[in-house]
């Protein structure tokens, strides 16, 4: 079962990489980009036995740093083998 973890920087946390991407888009001539924030997408292939609480614990203990990041769990049960 595929589970996607979206890790994003919290509001107010400076994202110089996002800023650099923003500048690059502008220099390519793309107008109307107000802001860019860069995050991470982590894909996990999990057994059905792994609970939502387990995934939440994985995020809090390792996958995200709760001082600076938020996470969102996207669990897709449809791909279960």
């Amino acid at each position: 079962m595929k589970t996607r973890i979206h890790v994003t920087l919290k509001n107010g946390v400076l994202d110089p990489q996002g800023k650099a991407i923003h500048h690059a888009l502008e220099s390519l001539g793309f107008d109307g980009v107000n802001d860019v924030r860069q995050g991470k997408l982590i894909e996990l292939d999990l057994d059905e036995s792994v609970s939502d609480d387990d995934i939440e614990a994985m995020c809090r203990k390792l996958l995200a740093n709760m001082v600076i990041e938020n996470f969102e769990i996207e669990r897709d049960h449809s791909e279960a083998a």
Partner: protein
Amino acid sequence: MKSAVIVFPGSNCDRDMAVALEQATGAKPQMVWHRETELPDGLGLIALPGGFSYGDYLRSGAIGANSPIMREVKAAADRGVAVLGVCNGFQLLTEAGLLPGALLRNAGIDFICRDVALTVASSQTAFTSRYAADEAITIPVAHHDGNYFADADTLDRIEGEGRVAFRYGESVNGSARDIAGIVNEAGNVLGMMPHPERMIEPAHGGTDGKRLFDGLVEALS
């Protein structure tokens, strides 16, 4: 005094740290591989060196902070053993929860490798006893993720408790309140981005880092 340097895959300042500890303590530190599950007996000081543990994968220090030896480092810190984390060591200490906050990508994005001006924010810690309060010193930095971040309440608390050991004396990496190094609540754990072990003999261009080690050994003896 017995000391140890924890070595992770990707550490690259471990031997420099060992030289600094041997110079200050008069004895070679034990080099401890991160997969070990026990620390040597009778340690007075544990150093987490600079480098790129696990290639900075996920976040700088995030994987190494979960290495088996870090449980023992935490337990030793709780018992009052001194722990010094430099650069990647500072990142490891925040990721492991031994120090508050986090180290973000430098505000200017560039990797910064040069001597920087620091101010000794507190000379009251075991790590800074050989410096005068507000003294200006020079110590090199070499990092990509040195931009110290914590929420305003945490910053107020660590400043109010006198736990900021060093501040940048110039614009370096965007760190909140120019924080370059902090100690934990008990005062026995220091994390700092600048590299004192790279400033311990005249050939390095100065000896401002040497006093950190000498003062620490004196304070612990």
